[in-house]
């Protein structure tokens, strides 16, 4: 991503044009119109989630009712019941995404440093090659790896699924960290070293605090990319690793619309929560989370 660094740039307020319209009333009218269009845009983006929410609480929700005749928590109670399949699926999804993120961060930390701080021949080639796994259809990667993982007994296991999730997650984490390291001044580390700090102390007291926001963003990316995976988990997990997307898909082919809708919201909720946290607290930057799919 040639522009990965620009993407991480702090958005700056653009000075409002001094003379947007020839008449002052004209300008005010246009600004008002723009606000209406923005509101419409946001409503459109929220709209698809509305019918899911409605149908998750509907009972006997038949055409052409717009609002269900009876509103009830039957579906929610079913998916949140103590013995429901939701809970093991939630645990699988969290353990999977957490492990993938952690492994990816450890591997990506030195790589991000290399791409962010060093100018060397072949850097652009490496960046393009890192994008390659993101661009190739996940189903193709999964089918290609299936034979090899089958032979070493990793299909149908959590370990195998962690491995294939690294294919889309690792490049994103590396590229985010590269953007973070590009803003790090290595002179601070050199100063700490000259004052007698060892490598661990330098990392803990100088490097880590400086890259912490980027590290959080990278972890956020990685977690969500893994969270939403379907094709890779389906092919390599072979029905043994049941994550929330897998469970949701099975439910969608099952027939109980209310339960499927409730499960869909449940599957999306942590992602939305994380997005809110990221948008408000962690960085407040315009971070593209395009890797999340």
């Amino acid at each position: 991503m040639a522009s990965s660094r620009q993407l991480m740039a702090e958005p700056t307020r653009v000075a409002a044009p001094a003379s947007a319209g020839r008449h002052p009333g004209d300008a005010a009218g246009r600004a008002w119109l723009r606000r209406v269009v923005v509101a419409l845009l946001l409503v459109t983006l929220l709209l698809p989630l509305l019918p899911l929410a409605v149908s998750s609480v509907g009972q006997g929700y038949f055409f052409p009712q717009v609002v269900p005749e009876t509103i009830g928590l039957r579906a929610l109670r079913l998916i949140l019941a103590p013995g429901a399949e939701t809970w093991p699926a939630l645990i699988d999804t969290v353990v999977l995404a957490g492990t993938v993120t952690l492994v990816a961060l450890v591997i990506a930390l030195p790589a991000g440093r290399a791409l962010g701080l060093y100018r060397f021949r072949g850097r652009h080639t490496v960046e393009f090659l890192l994008l390659a796994p993101v661009l190739v259809p996940p189903i193709a990667v999964a089918i290609g790896l299936h034979g090899a993982l089958l032979r070493v007994g990793l299909t149908g296991s959590m370990a195998g699924v962690v491995l294939v999730h690294l294919v889309p997650v690792l490049p994103y984490v590396v590229l985010v960290l590269a953007g973070t390291f590009a803003n790090l001044d290595p002179d601070y580390e050199a100063q700490a070293r000259s004052l007698g700090a060892g490598p661990v102390a330098v990392f803990r007291t100088v490097t880590l605090p400086a890259i912490a926001p980027g590290l959080a963003t990278a972890a956020f990316f990685g977690f969500l990319v893994s969270w939403g995976q379907y094709a890779l988990t389906l092919v390599i997990g072979g029905g043994q690793v049941v994550t929330l997307p897998i469970l949701l898909f099975a439910s969608a082919s099952g027939g109980d619309t209310a339960v499927t809708s409730a499960l869909a919201i449940f599957t999306a909720a942590p992602a939305l929560l994380l997005l809110a946290v990221n948008a408000w607290a962690v960085t407040g930057r315009a971070v593209p989370i395009g890797g999340v799919r």
Partner: protein
Amino acid sequence: MTRVSLTTTLRDERLRPWVLLAPTLIVVGGLFGGALVQAGLGSVRPVRGAASSGVTLDAYRALLADPELPRSFALTVYLATASTLLAVVLGLGAALLLRRAAGRSRLVTAAFQLPLPIPHVVGALAVLALLGQSGLVSRVAGALGVVDGTAQFPALVFDPWAIGILVEYTWKEVPFIGIVALALLRSARVREHEQAARSLGAGGWQRLRHVTLPLVLPGVLSAAAIVFAFTFGAFEVPLLLGRSFPEALPVVAYRHHVDVDLASGPQAVALSLVMALIAFACVGAAMALARRRVRRD
């Protein structure tokens, strides 16, 4: 002895970045490269019990002979092209609008990004609940008396034009393109050039056409390449919202993969490999184009 040379290697500044990159390159290369090599080998391996031995192109021949495959290919290219165009035009428009109207409002920016972290399986089900024949729009039409029953509502999902799939992709990818474009629009480079153009007397439309768009297009083009590659290879959305004929290429590959017929396995990997190469070629071309534009400007 080895220890000494290892430390010297680590100290060598020219080798340093490669040492740091090694774990990532090994993992990505091993897994991703491994997948491609495995697919390549698997696609030319003769099926057990077949007459031929050594290397065979039977899988590719079978794919070429498949009368349904051209239509699947056309559908997949159509889906990727249409959704990328929609995402770029609407995303860029939204970014231009948000820059003027939203200012720094985090709430608006956060709301704009809302679809991004939602898994595509959820997005597809949401589109089904919105646009399906017993979806919310159909119900509103029914309640208003516009349609008489679910069958009268036009098929927007499982339809020949794959509208449901396009809506899902557009919904997810407009914020992606928009956020990329917004970050570029808010950069100091764009702002300074716009101010210079204004001081030289350029009007709003002239500034947009000759200054702003040329500056943000290369970055947007890279993002568009990612969208194209994704929509070209996505599997779960056409599986949930597409018709059973023709099916998108990733779905065809998966069907071959789970088919019990022994000859199907090599066809699945062969098709996977072909899809990977097509995705690569398209993105490589787009990136090269973007780079040329940057150089020219």
